[in-house]
Amino acid sequence: DKCVTRLEQLGYRVGQSLVERFTKDSPRFKDELDIMKFVCKDFWTTVYKKQVDNLRTNHQGVYVLQDNRFRLLIQIAAGKQYMEYAPKYLAFPCGLIRGALSNLGMNCIVTAEVTQMPACKFQIIIQKS
């Protein structure tokens, strides 16, 4: 879907810039997990006004971020009628994460999954170069 791709690209560019600003005053990150924690806490709070509710990893480069009340879905969360629009709402946030992580040196693929709005899961697969 062209629209989804575009939105993802916009998010990517914004994520690159935002993360540059947000990490300007923080000490250097220790490792990958340190970066993911930063995304779940500081980054998420500035952008979505709350922290990620749950972060899981298989320790092999796959991370799952779960937000039980994702800010961008709250408006359309009543009932199932807007479910088909969810991918369009999530393309930008996926790009945002991908842009932020790529600028921090982690190239990845980010996908989103919704089963019950406004809860949402983002899966991040780190690409090893």
Partner: protein, 180 residues
Amino acid sequence: MSRQSNRTTDSRKVSQELFTLTYGALVSQLIKDYEGDDDVNKQLDKMGYNIGVRMVEDFLARSSVGRCHDFRETADVIAKQAFKMYLGITPSITNWSPAGDEFSLIVENNPLTDFVELPEKHGNLCYSNVLCGVLRGALEMVQMEVKVWFAQDTLRGDNITEIRLKFIKRLEDALPAGEE
């Protein structure tokens, strides 16, 4: 009224950096998608229009302003309440035409243009043209047809940023085109 007071203003607010950067990404995407600056300006105006026709309801509900009696009152509401509410700035109102049907908003610290350096090849781009569309769309919903344009823009090397509004006519209570 109760609905209004229950809203916490803070959670509605978007980080300004996020807002500014997202708008920037949108404009640069449009530049990739369209041929020239004029087409991009048109698209931004169109997007703004679509935002404006929806936003006016939200504005009226939250600001509780009543009907404006003349264009001067409208100018006041736009500058002191609408700009304040949505962009956090209060432009000054100047350069009234003798007939009172045209005025300028002088915008300082336009949040849309933080960080922006316009490349020379985009000399015709009205970077913040979305604002013109928003004003046009919103005023159309309250039965005013207006023409809105950027008379000056600091991004293009002018000393000030000036949005000009011209009253065209009062619209009858017909259903606006494009409404679902």
